[in-house]
């Protein structure tokens, strides 16, 4: 994956030089370990600012919403699926985009690495399949597979779904993955247990809305939490308000979520917010055979119906 960078530079430089696009949206090196900053490059001289490594977990589709320019965007498998969703939902046009597809081998989980490394992390170096973490006078080497973001570890669409150019040959997709083990575990719980589990999960929430804002799907001009007449939700850290927020946030992503993991990565409190969206993803798959963002020609599940949809739950 490290070899992708030269190709990214070449493509970006060419596109900008030939004025095929007005800008390239990608990542630049962050100022702290395991963080890169989404950035925009507008001139061919600056393409070398762009980086690519296992710290590009932010979903760049989030930066395309309602843009009018011609844009080249670097896209992993999940990003590309969100780009598809964006196109379906008219948030950007296909012909505005040049998708630089990146076959992805997974992003690393900075929270996880921090918790596995007792000292302060000064530097993280990535070698093929190896993550070297350095502190002051100490070092630890992890296999990349053990420190992947959880959504990457169970990802089954690593290659971009749409692209104009790939930076490398497609990677092998993971098979025989059980994507919903955690969801099933909760489904099997008793009511009381479920409530305790979610109360505990959400007890750290500070309502910063990083999960919502990191998500490319959350682009409503006025989010339901900001509606005032009626005001659906209180603004305090009341547990019911917090629970309601997470429930509705997830529900708004129903049938659209690609499990890119941006929400969870963004959460400053390390809350497992994917546990909500994954339930819906599982349901959409089981009830309607749907996976989000796989094709430009299919309508998302809540925007369509079949006369014989399951309705056992209706009296």
């Amino acid at each position: 994956m490290l070899g992708y960078l030269t190709k990214i530079w070449t493509i970006s430089e060419r596109l900008l030089k030939e004025s095929k696009v007005d800008m390239v949206i990608g990542f630049r090196k962050g100022t702290v370990p395991m963080m890169n900053e989404p950035c925009v490059v507008k001139s061919p001289e600056n393409v070398k600012e762009l980086v690519w490594d296992s710290n590009c977990g932010i979903n760049l589709a989030n930066y395309l919403t309602d843009r009018k320019e011609k844009i080249a965007v670097i896209a992993k498998g999940c990003d590309s699926r969100n780009i598809v969703t964006h196109i379906i939902e008219n948030k950007i046009k296909r012909d505005q985009l040049f998708v630089i597809g990146v076959p992805c081998k997974g992003m690393i989980d900075r929270h996880k690495i921090s918790s596995m490394f007792e000292k302060e992390i000064i530097e993280v170096i990535e070698e093929e399949n190896k993550i070297i973490v350095r502190g002051n006078d100490c070092e630890k080497i992890f296999k990349k597979a053990e420190v992947l973001q959880e959504n990457c570890a169970i990802c089954i669409h690593r290659n971009p779904v749409i692209y104009d150019e790939l930076v490398a040959e497609p990677v092998k997709e993971q098979t025989d993955i059980d994507r919903y083990k955690d969801v099933r575990r909760i489904e099997e719980m008793q009511v009381e247990e479920k409530n305790n589990f979610f109360d505990e999960t959400l007890s750290a929430c500070i309502r910063c809305y990083a999960c919502r804002n990191a998500c490319p799907l959350c682009y409503c001009p006025t989010c339901f939490v900001d509606e005032s007449r009626p005001q659906w939700l209180g603004k305090s850290i009341d547990p019911v308000d917090i629970k309601t927020f997470h429930l509705l946030r997830a529900f708004h992503c129903a049938g659209r979520c690609t499990d890119c993991g941006a929400c969870q990565r963004a959460c400053p409190m390390g809350i497992n917010v994917r546990i909500f969206t994954k339930k819906l993803e599982k349901d959409c798959f089981e009830l309607y055979g749907w996976e989000a963002g796989m094709s430009l020609d299919e309508r998302p599940p809540l925007d369509t119906y079949r006369p014989d949809d399951p309705e056992d739950f209706i009296k």
Partner: protein, 350 residues
């Protein structure tokens, strides 16, 4: 100033004693990170931390706080008339607060304790609290306190400064509040360790590797910085979440909300963030800071320019580095501060 030696074997006992007359708050590890919590009986603060995930500001200034209450039942006397909610302002102590976070309260005090108006909730909480700081022997790479007006052994804002010296703590008494506290805990072994603390302080300061330059901020014109060309680029990555403002020890903005539960109700305040569009949305629908860029600019301009101009005492930042560590998209206040400080208006020649 007096220095008391506290042997670590006497630590837990002293704290238990304190719990008789104070409510104790201290850093506790919760899953992956530390946060300040009320310490129950026999619970000790865990000092094996760089800094807490959230700043301790919520001990003085809770994220959600009831201010007033009222009855809506028209058959009751004084219905619809607001009255102050009863609160517990008994003595409390924050054990193990980092010096940067304690000095942050002094910055925030300027906002809540003004010549014209006093915020009774904040002031009463603040005054009821004794701050026992834990000096930072090992600052992090994202700490830039020394160039943000404080430091790893900074004393302003503290009542006692604890220095971890291996098998014992050195407790430097800074105020009478602090003296009373140590007395109440039964720690009274005076020692002469000024030099030792000074040496440790210098060593800690030398470990700070990260800095901001702020010397020229004051001289710039607000309008020039406001119109500077770099804001679009600075704001590009920002997703406008409230993380930076909520984890910040010096951010104080809040919202006031009424909530009614049947026939009784409360007026409360909740932390708010300049990152949210709703923060400035007028009733008419007009929003003076409607774009992402305007809100990002507001945050940095407020901290690094407006505050500087208003109070003439440095920036509204103590260099704790939380916003840098926790920003989901790696927006780094150090970079922006330096950009602002070095910005010169381009004089166009035409």
């Amino acid at each position: 100033m007096k220095i008391i030696r506290i042997d670590k074997k006497n630590w837990a006992g002293g704290l238990e004693k304190l719990k008789g007359s104070y409510r104790l708050f201290g850093p506790v590890k919760d899953n992956e990170f530390h946060n300040f919590k009320r310490l129950d009986k026999d619970e000790l603060p865990d000092f094996n931390y760089f800094n807490t995930r959230l700043s301790p500001k919520s001990i003085i200034y809770p994220q959600s706080e009831i201010m007033l209450e009222y009855e809506l039942d028209e058959n009751k006397e004084n219905h619809h008339v607001m009255k102050e909610s009863k609160k517990d302002y008994s003595q409390r102590v924050v054990i193990g607060i980092r010096p940067c976070d304690a000095s942050a309260f002094l910055l925030v005090k300027r906002n809540f304790d003004t010549p014209e108006y006093k915020d009774p909730y904040w002031i009463r909480s603040y005054e009821a609290t004794t701050f026992v700081g834990l000096a930072c022997n090992n600052p992090q790479a994202t700490c830039f306190c020394t160039s943000a007006g404080c430091g790893p052994f900074y004393e302003d804002g503290l009542d006692v400064l604890l220095v971890d010296a291996g098998d014992h703590f050195l407790a430097k008494i800074i105020s009478s509040k602090g003296e009373n506290l140590l007395e109440a805990a039964g720690w009274d072994t005076e020692t002469d360790a000024d030099e030792q603390i000074e040496t440790m302080k210098q060593e800690a300061e030398a470990r700070i590797t990260s800095f901001v330059t702020t010397n020229k901020l004051k001289d710039k014109k607000i309008i020039d910085l406001f119109d500077a060309p770099f804001w679009e680029e600075v704001a590009f990555a920002c997703i406008n979440c409230g993380t930076c403002t909520y984890v910040c020890p010096t951010c104080w903005c809040f919202d006031i909300q009424d909530e009614a539960y049947g026939l009784c109700g409360i007026r409360m305040r909740n932390w708010d963030s300049c990152m949210f569009p709703l923060f400035t949305l007028h009733g008419s629908g007009h929003n003076p800071r409607s774009t992402n860029m305007q809100r990002v600019r507001q945050r940095f301009m407020h901290k690094l320019k407006y505050y500087v101009d208003k109070y003439n005492d440095g920036i509204q930042c103590v260099g704790c580095g939380r916003c840098i560590r926790l920003c989901p998209v790696n927006i780094d206040i150090r970079k922006i501060c330096n950009m602002m400080n070095s910005y010169e208006v381009q004089v166009t020649s035409d």
